[in-house]
């Protein structure tokens, strides 16, 4: 039986043509229409955040710090920075030691420095809770361009080199704060296992401030969620209730920013957390210090110094003071060696530094965070430091 090999049948070709022609959408845009779309979209992208700044009132006090709940609101961080670029402003950049983990906003290191300066200088708390050098580097790179040419105090906390886990160099995956800020591609961070897509999204997100502004809205008004998730959020109880189901997301956008609570149960003298580390019954510890040559956090700190220097910042590094009381005696030698290495590196790069003296044991809340009185002493000691004075006045 001979089999005919034929071209596609008439009906087949007909149905193919028909399906190709049939377009159920009226939404096929022409070239001029696409140009119009892109023009309007770009205008909105550029205009909306600026207009928002005008509408949403933000008048930070002298000792303002980005509230704990909004630590990931980098757009707000940048906005704070933009508003504080007067001549006598000194920007204090760092992690939760500078931010003030156990203390209220008026009892931080920068707040007590403001007390000392009595208006001669204004020390701006430009720290965020939960930062560490790898994230701090990203924060300054992407959201700190307004620091350019300013006087910057950069805090160096050796806690981040105190173990492979803190250094993020252990191969086990870890969940940590501010993952969007760590280098997504330039540096291999063994503890960071984000997918390629997540990394790309994070890298692109930093390049487009509109997305940071959208994140600002999500953090400030929608409980850190996207508006969809916010409408579906439950109250965390069982059986659950869904308080936002019948509220439109935009109806809660009232222009009032999240501020620090008046009586923060977690911070300040009245807080149960505000107590010396030894009161917890924690004994001395042995830290598994990471050699500086291998430390990812130290490399990030070095790069950060370079970025600031390249931007023409007048830089001083404030080193520690790490709570050495918490260390076993034999562990202190290793710490000292690392501290000396840091100092040598700073000197080799002609970076001014100040290393305040170790505080009394009772003035530390943990391995690195001072309590209120500790910050007061640190501010006094720094203010009276001659090198610091010389740096301030130059």
């Amino acid at each position: 039986m001979k089999q005919e090999i034929s071209k596609p049948s008439q009906s087949q070709r007909g149905s193919v043509r028909k399906s190709q022609k049939a377009l159920p959408h009226a939404f096929l845009l022409s070239v001029p229409q696409w140009i119009g779309v892109l023009a309007v979209f770009l205008a909105l992208v550029l205009f909306l955040p600026t207009a928002w700044e005008a509408w949403e009132s933000f008048d930070p006090e002298l000792n303002y710090r980005v509230p704990y709940e909004t630590s990931q609101d980098y757009w707000q961080y940048e906005r704070h920075l933009k508003q504080r670029t007067q001549e006598n402003d000194i920007f204090f950049v760092g992690d939760s030691v500078v931010w003030g983990e156990y203390v209220t906003a008026d009892a931080t290191w920068s707040a007590f420095l403001n007390e000392q300066a009595a208006g001669e200088y204004q020390f701006v708390n430009l720290a965020l809770n939960g930062l560490y050098p790898l994230a701090l580097e990203g924060l300054v790179r992407h959201y700190g361009s307004d620091l350019r040419h300013g006087k910057v105090m950069l805090h160096c906390n050796l806690l981040w080199m105190s173990s492979p886990s803190a250094d993020l160099s252990q191969s086990k995956e870890q969940v940590f704060n501010h993952p969007t800020l760590v280098p997504q591609f330039r540096v291999s961070i063994p503890s960071y296992r984000a997918t390629l897509d997540t990394r790309l999204g994070r890298a692109i997100g930093h390049q487009w401030s509109f997305l940071a502004w959208v994140r600002h809205l999500q953090i400030q008004y929608w409980e850190q969620k996207d508006p969809y998730a916010w409408t579906l959020a439950d109250n965390g109880k069982y059986p659950p209730a869904y308080p936002n189901s019948y509220t439109m997301p935009w109806s809660v956008v009232d222009g009032r920013l999240i501020s620090e609570p008046d009586m923060d149960p977690d911070r300040g003298m009245q807080s149960t957390r505000h107590k010396p580390w030894s009161d917890e019954g924690v004994g001395t510890q042995r830290f598994d210090w990471v050699p500086l040559d291998d430390s990812l956090q130290w490399q990030a700190f070095q790069r950060l110094c370079q970025v600031l220097q390249d931007r023409g910042n007048d830089l001083i590094v404030v080193l520690g003071p790490f709570n050495q009381h918490i260390m076993t005696v034999d562990n202190r030698a290793k710490f000292k060696a690392i501290e000396n290495e840091v100092k040598q590196w700073l000197e080799s790069r002609s970076i001014v530094y100040s290393a305040p003296k170790l505080l009394n044991s009772s003035l530390y809340g943990d391995a690195s965070h001072p309590l209120t009185q500790g910050y007061r002493q640190l501010a006094e000691s720094l203010w009276n430091d001659l090198d610091f004075k010389a740096w301030l006045s130059r």
Binding site: K2, S9, Q12, L23, P32, V37, V40, L200, L217, P249
Partner: protein, 536 residues
């Protein structure tokens, strides 16, 4: 790699620019094929082995089928039987095929007797395939070659999609009948300890490849001589993992020469991509959260929530799947390739038959052309037509997955299609029942059937149905925003089928609509997962 990810938004411009650079060279098709394999391999590089093997086999099967055709007049039936007895063929290319069959047979024997535990099933399949190849080559039988292709393609589908279902049900049957037999799980049959994973989109590319073999067998299509063209047809990345299931007659000729890319193709493609992205990220993903909440614990929600979640799922699956198709068509169109329409406002259908001419058109036409019509179609009277329709729907249901829920879903559609076909033949229904009412009825019926499609188990589905009908209608807590979006989208679709469509075609409407979608995506897009139809 999903279309709505940053990775794809980097991948596609690279592919597109490379494509433009190679468009007028002989590297055009290899470039597309390489891009398609990178795209597919990004899920799991081992999947590539499967698709390459499947492609190569179907390509050669058709070549050997062609060799049979050309030699038929030269060799009588008796000579072919003689060839079979001697296990050799007078045609050179078929002799090669017979040798491959022999080697395959030896391998299967070796694997079966000396291979690692679990490789016996593979050995068995290889043996059957090799024997069929030897038979087809010796007998110069086109039908046997078609059998080789079918055995190969369907065995992969059977193993990866249906084995667990059959084994589980067979084991239950053995227990009930009192036999002391328990078949091992399908995963234990994987050779060399490889992981038992359902290859993404296997049903789509297998059906696409099979349509080529079938069309050639039925004489509707000439053989594609260029292997790379055929491989690109099977693996073309825009539609590889979730369709539309293209026909060789439509797509293969498009690879023959470089398509002309007009500016309009790019703008239309970008429009389709934007719409698809919006459907997936802004609509489908949002609805999925509510559906998951309710369907995840159906016994904890009242009738209202379950009914609304069912309606939400109807829209979720539509936005999810048609969104993917829009993106696929948009991406292909930007490169100058035209893929078939897969969805045409299905929830405005006035009968179940009409629904299936608007929903997953590429699959329903596939089953129509390769199952329903070959079975007999409408040619043998209404009763037989309904029987064939039932079989077609059953197979279509099984295509979606091996579970009783899918089978019930398919049978519901079969019954619904027959019922509405009968109703449409009645003058009172056809002429007097308002179209809006018919549409509402079809939508509600389809939504009801989706309960079985979405529920994890049949008992879950029954529970949902019984709770919708019988439990108290407490506060469903369906977000108002979600309700608003559904109403808006329904109204928009309805507008498209009325004379007011012209409004939506106004330039200002389109520009503002696209800007709205872009801004909305920035604000509201939630990081959703894969497309629902990837699991098929």
């Amino acid at each position: 790699m999903l279309f709505h990810t940053w990775t794809f938004l980097i991948f596609f411009p690279i592919v597109f620019l490379g494509y433009l650079a190679f468009k007028k060279t002989s590297l055009r098709v290899p470039w597309l094929l390489a891009a398609s394999y990178v795209f597919y391999g990004s899920w799991n590089p081992f999947y590539l082995l499967l698709i390459i093997y499947s492609t190569a086999l179907d390509y050669w099967v058709v070549a050997w089928m062609e060799a049979c055709g050309s030699s038929k007049s030269a060799h009588s039936s008796s000579r072919r039987w003689a060839s079979l007895l001697q296990w050799r063929s007078p045609v050179r290319s078929l002799r090669v095929a017979a040798w491959i069959g022999r080697v395959g047979l030896l391998l299967s024997l070796g694997l079966g007797l000396m291979g690692p535990a679990g490789s016996q099933a593979v050995a068995c399949l290889l043996g059957v395939l090799s024997l069929t190849m030897m038979f087809a080559a010796s007998m110069q039988s086109r039908k046997a070659w078609l059998g080789v292709s079918m055995i190969n393609n369907l065995s992969f589908l059977l193993y990866f999609k249906y084995a667990d279902f059959f084994i589980e049900n067979a084991n239950q049957l053995f227990v009930r009948l009192g036999f002391n037999i328990q078949w091992p799980e399908a995963a234990t049959l994987m050779p060399f300890g490889w992981e038992y994973l359902l290859p993404v989109g296997i049903s789509f590319y297998t059906f696409q490849s099979m349509s080529y073999t079938l069309d050639f067998y039925f004489g509707k299509l000439p053989r594609e001589k260029k292997f790379l063209n055929f491989a690109t047809y099977v693996a073309f990345f825009p539609q590889l993992v979730a369709g539309p299931i293209e026909r060789a007659a439509s797509l293969l000729p498009q690879f023959e020469k470089a398509p002309r890319i007009r500016i309009k193709d790019i703008t239309d493609g970008a429009s389709l991509f934007l719409i698809g992205l919006f459907k997936k990220l802004a609509l489908a993903n949002y609805l999925s959260y509510y559906v998951e909440r309710v369907y995840g614990m159906p016994d904890e929600f009242g009738g209202a929530a379950l009914a609304l979640a069912t309606l939400a799922f109807a829209w979720q699956i539509y936005f999810d799947f048609s969104g993917y198709t829009d993106m696929a068509r948009g991406i292909a169109l930007m490169m100058g390739y035209k893929l078939m329409l897969n969805f045409n406002r299905p929830y405005l259908a006035t009968s179940l038959g009409d629904f299936w001419s608007r929903w997953h058109i590429s699959l329903s036409t596939w089953f129509r052309d390769y199952v329903y019509i070959p079975l007999g179609g409408n040619r043998h009277g209404a009763k037989k037509a309904y029987l064939y329709l039932g079989i077609t729907f059953l197979l279509s249901a099984i295509w979606h997955g091996a579970a009783w829920t899918f089978i019930i879903w398919g049978l519901l559609h079969a019954v619904g299609t027959m019922a509405t076909r009968e109703l449409e033949s009645q003058a009172w229904y056809h002429d007097r029942v308002p179209i809006a009412l018919k549409r509402l009825f079809v939508f509600l019926f389809v939504s009801f059937a989706w309960i079985f499609f979405r529920a994890e188990t049949v008992s879950d589905a029954w529970l949902i149905v019984s709770r919708i009908a019988g439990s108290a209608w407490t506060d469903p807590a369906m977000p108002l925003l979600m309700v608003g979006l559904i109403v808006l989208m329904w109204a928009y679709q309805w507008l498209q089928e009325t004379r007011f469509r012209i409004w939506t075609e106004a330039a200002w409407f389109k520009v503002m609509g696209a800007v709205f979608m872009l801004i909305w995506l920035c604000f509201f897009s939630s990081s959703g997962g894969a497309f629902i139809y990837f699991q098929f």
